[in-house]
């Protein structure tokens, strides 16, 4: 732990209440952030342009099935699937444009495959036609008059057992068989990840029941874990809703900031947030990750987060403009950033830690969501310092020039006087 205790002497104050032996980064930093604004601008430009180019010419906007419509079937096999094999089966059933994607598991390959069909094979006349075709195509060892135990529901198994009554329980057997059926399905889904490889895996189930099940069911080599089918109408609706949500969010923030500060603060903050969103969406395009509904939720969250961050810096700037009347604006802004630096880095660091945990351990379903947050938090922090603050200064310098004042006079309007009085009175 670094020994502390410099600093107090700089203020010429001797006090008994010292802060000793603490862990503290970033004390008394004095970095000239505004001076580096051209580096920041260059950095932002590089990533923004890369993102825009990818959006326009390379991967485009990779929309998930939520927005572009289509069919998504997430299948787990009992063995590592052979892509060519699967594709051949699908082709034979007429699904020539199916896209296959292996799911990378944490433990060296899960046996999972994501099969997606275009919106063309997903019409609203028969929404699940694509899904049924896929399942039929993959069920190559189907036996007539037998159901697939790997894709059977609790109701199907219960019905079969009740009708065949292997334990000779007589009339009121349905509850008992339902419990057994639930046990079978739970073994398959919770312990075995969704597929049986053999009837011997049915442990804890009475022998006669297993034999009866073998009569009425066969085991295909896959289980369907997840299905998402979105028709064209819903896809369009969701697109509209996502755009509206983002627009309302930004508008709401703008109004709130205009209320608490002045318009220019609001505009600078919104520009910073817009920059963050652009870079995040660009990152998705560059890495060709799909944008789903949860990703939009993550983007809206990082809009809120980036605002937070910018507000903390602005609050300090506003406070310092009142206090340090004789200093130039860029000095005030620099000082404000330096003063809030430790808080900013700490909070981002901590939030980043939690989001990183989500990204590493949160699983496949949340992958897009956590990716958006990981990028968003880093960029959101960066933008408060690198975009919003310089913009404030630039605007003020421009206004000063127009009104004939020397460029560096800090007359940045702060929030209304009454509120300042309230603060001091606390």
């Amino acid at each position: 732990m670094p020994a502390a205790t410099i600093g107090l002497e700089n203020f010429g104050v001797a006090s008994d209440a010292r802060v000793n032996n603490e862990v503290e980064f970033f004390r008394n930093t004095n970095i000239d952030f505004l001076g580096k604004k051209w580096y920041f601008l260059a950095f932002s430009l590089v990533f923004s342009v890369a993102g825009i180019l990818s959006l326009a010419f390379w991967h485009g906007l990779p929309l998930g099935v939520d927005f572009r419509g289509g069919t998504l079937v997430y299948v787990k096999f009992t063995h590592p699937p052979n892509d060519a094999d699967v594709r051949a089966k699908l082709d034979k059933s007429g699904l020539k444009d199916a896209k296959l994607q292996s799911i990378a598991g944490g433990q060296g390959g899960t046996n999972e495959l994501l099969i997606s069909l275009d919106i063309k094979e997903t019409s609203e006349q028969a929404l699940d036609a694509g899904k049924n075709t896929i399942i039929n195509a993959l069920e190559t060892n189907a036996q007539p008059n037998k159901q697939d135990l790997n894709n059977a529901s609790v109701q199907a198994v219960t019905e079969y057992l009740t009708n065949n009554d292997p334990l000779h329980l007589g009339l009121d057997s349905q509850q008992r068989y339902e419990a057994i059926a639930q046990q079978v399905v739970n073994t398959r889904d919770k312990s075995l990840g969704g597929v049986f490889s053999g009837f011997n895996q049915l442990s804890g189930v009475p022998g006669p029941v297993v034999q009866s099940l073998q009569q009425g069911f066969f085991l295909s080599d896959f289980g369907v874990r997840n299905v998402e089918i979105v028709g064209p109408q819903v896809g369009r609706q969701l697109q509209k809703q996502a755009i509206l949500a983002i627009a309302y969010s930004l508008a709401g923030m703008l109004i709130y900031l205009w209320f608490r500060f002045e318009m220019i603060y609001g505009v600078a903050a919104v520009v910073a947030v817009f920059h963050d969103t652009l870079i995040t969406v660009g990152a998705f395009s560059l890495t060709n990750k799909e944008i789903s509904l949860t990703v939009i939720a993550a983007i809206l969250t990082l809009v809120g987060y980036s605002m937070n961050d910018t507000i903390v810096v602005f609050d300090r700037i506003r406070e310092n403009v009142k206090l340090l009347r004789r200093e130039s604006l860029s000095e005030i802004v620099n000082k404000s950033i330096n003063q809030t630096l430790s808080r900013t880095i700490l909070t981002s660091g901590l939030t980043f830690l939690t989001v990183l945990s989500l990204f590493l351990f949160g699983g496949e379903v949340l992958h897009g969501f956590s990716f958006a947050l990981v990028i968003g938090i880093l960029i959101g922090t960066y933008s408060s310092i690198a975009i919003a603050a310089p913009m404030l200064v630039a605007y003020q310098e421009w206004r000063n020039k127009r009104e004939g004042r020397p460029a560096q006079v800090a007359t940045l309007p702060a929030a209304r006087t009454k509120e300042k009085e309230k603060v001091r009175a606390r």
Binding site: G7, L8, V13, S15, A17, R18, V19, E22, R27, Y74, E124, L127, D128, N151, A156, N186, D189, K190, G194, G223, R225, N226, V227, E228, I229, G231, Q233, Q241, A242, A245, Y248, M253, Y256, L293, T294, A297, L300, T301, V303, Y305, M307, N308, I311, V312, D315, R343, L346, T347, T351, L353, V355, S357, L358, F361, G362, G363, L366, F369, S370, V423
Partner: protein, 546 residues
């Protein structure tokens, strides 16, 4: 400076207990206690947290109610009424029909009415067809359309009725805690969520079955195809007035019903689904599965009148515009009937249940289908909880190292935050989804921000030479406004997400909002009380562990 610490501490402990109770007992305390006794503590906890579909497994469907069907049906009935009224009033006409049933389902055109009879026509429309208005068209024709408000009403009623019918059917299937509600704004869509149903095929069929039952007089047939039917009429190519041709249903496993036949039926029905008061599966003389239905009082009377007047003639049982069965009327029948035909035993059972639940007022189409298998749900829970625990531990440990004594303060506040959040969700019966778990993780990260703000300010004030009590005062005072600002902006985006999002995203918005509200309380009030308690117990001049 006592500052009522005793009272404040009691308040904090009380609030913690209240929210912990919310989490442990959930919205239904007696049920939870029973579960606790019978299945153990953890199982009882699991019951209180309402898991979303993405964690429990189940099916999510969005249906479009084809409201135009209901409008067309209403217009069709209006045409019948209009014709009989015009006959009674001796108004001559050449044609009454719908010119464009697809594009304008509520439009009826009457042709060939002489101008002098216009007045009578108008009075018929205003008295007998109050939902419709009339305008003149070219060449002595009149266009009768539904009034705009009535049209809207009819469509909305169709959706509500569809929801009721679907609810009846799903309840009969025994799905636990289904969600059936209107979806979207003014688009006539229904959201159906069926937890635990991972094979939706049968449920979808049952929901979609319009089950429109009608009994009509069978005037002619069977004909092998439509052409033959037209040729064999008295005037070849022209159907007798008020008749329609209809196809029969096909049952591939029954040799006598393997090819469709065409029948000539009356346009209006003697009995419709609305006259049903019950239906149950049974079997016919040959042991084939059949459905027996019972009629209501007025329905039974009409049926008796019809059969009484047509003994010796044939009647046809029509289901969803397909002829199921044609039988000769041997005597007057009062209030029950039987449908045999193209069913398996399972289908007979399903059909009885569907008829009992009422027919759908309009067809439905599926727009979206998502099915999460329980294996994926279990995996998601595991991943979510792991990430949450790791994230939480990382933050707790960091705060201890970096802020030492004050770190304990922050950690306590954070844990209380989580207790309050879970308590909120328990009391409101809120649904926990996978993004909701992510929301909890984010709340931890963003919540600790408030503490960082306060502590950094306190450190700064201490550096500036203030005494610990004064530094704590100033720290809280300055940080307060910023904390409010940041929380309000994030809550604003969470609220917008809630309004525009669907299931899992809504769950995220809910946990984020509750978490931030809880944070406002713990980070400011609770932290302050702990600081004050600490300051009270130490002599002036001693360093603050921060």
């Amino acid at each position: 400076m006592k500052k009522n610490l005793g009272l404040k501490t009691i308040l904090i402990i009380a609030i913690t207990l209240v929210f912990a109770a919310g989490f442990i007992f959930g919205p239904n305390p007696s049920q939870s206690i029973n579960a606790w006794k019978s299945q153990g503590f953890v199982a009882a906890l699991e019951q209180n947290i309402h898991l979303g579909l993405d964690l429990r497994g189940g099916t999510h469907l969005i249906l479009q109610v084809k409201v135009d069907d209901a409008v067309r049906a209403d217009a069709s009935a209006a045409i019948d009424r209009l014709k009989s009224e015009m006959r009674t009033a001796s108004i001559n006409y050449t044609d009454v029909s719908q010119p464009d049933p697809q594009g304008h389902p509520d439009e009826i055109v009457v042709k060939g009415v002489q101008p002098d009879q216009r007045g009578s026509l108008l009075s018929i429309v205003s008295e007998r067809l109050p939902d419709y208005t009339e305008t003149s068209g070219p060449d002595n024709s009149y266009v009768i359309t539904m009034k705009a408000s009535q049209l809207q009403d009819l469509k909305n009623r169709a959706v509500q009725q569809a929801i009721e019918t679907i609810r009846n059917r799903i309840d009969a299937l025994g799905v636990s805690e289904p969600v059936i509600e209107e979806h979207g704004l003014g688009q006539y869509q229904i959201l159906v969520q069926l937890p635990g149903v991972d094979d939706p095929a049968r449920v979808k069929d049952i929901m979609q079955n319009t089950a429109m039952l009608e009994i009509r007089q069978a005037v002619g047939g069977p004909y092998p195809n439509e052409q033959a039917a037209m040729e064999q009429q008295t005037t070849p190519g022209v159907l007798p007035p008020d008749t329609v041709l209809m196809k029969s249903a096909v049952n591939p496993s029954d040799p006598s019903m393997s090819q469709p036949q065409w029948y000539l039926l009356s346009r209006s029905s003697a009995v419709t689904g609305r006259d049903l008061r019950g239906a149950e599966p049974t079997s016919d003389e040959n042991g084939r599965p059949a459905v027996r239905f019972l009629l209501t009082g007025p329905g039974g009377q009409r049926f008796a009148a019809f059969t009484g007047a047509h003994v010796g003639d044939k009647l046809a049982v029509v289901l969803d515009n397909k002829v199921q069965e044609v039988a000769t009327i041997q005597e007057q029948i009062h209030d029950e009937g039987r449908i045999t035909g193209a069913f398996t035993e399972q289908q007979a059972k399903d059909l009885s249940m569907i008829l009992r639940s009422g027919s759908l007022p309009a067809g439905i189409q599926y727009l979206e289908e998502r099915t999460v298998g329980p294996s994926l749900g279990a995996d998601s829970i595991r991943h979510g909880v792991t990430a949450a625990v790791i994230g939480l531990l990382a933050v707790l440990v960091f705060m201890l190292i970096y802020y030492r004594g004050a770190g304990i303060n922050a950690d306590l506040a954070l844990i209380m935050n989580l207790v309050i959040l879970l308590g909120f969700m328990g009391y409101f019966g809120a649904t926990l989804t996978l993004p909701g778990i992510a929301g909890v993780i984010l709340t931890v990260g963003m919540g600790v921000d408030s503490n960082v703000l306060i502590f950094e300010r306190i450190r700064e004030e201490l550096r500036n030479g203030k005494t610990p009590p004064s530094a704590v005062d100033q720290g809280f005072a300055h940080a307060w406004i910023t904390i409010v600002d940041t929380h309000v902006t994030t809550i604003v985006s969470a609220v917008i997400l809630f309004m525009f999002g669907t299931g899992p995203v809504k769950g995220f918005a809910v946990t984020l909002t509750f978490g931030l509200l809880a944070n406002l309380f713990t980070a400011v009030f609770v932290s302050r009380v702990i600081f004050d308690a600490h300051l009270n117990r130490h002599r002036a001049g001693e360093a603050l562990s921060i």
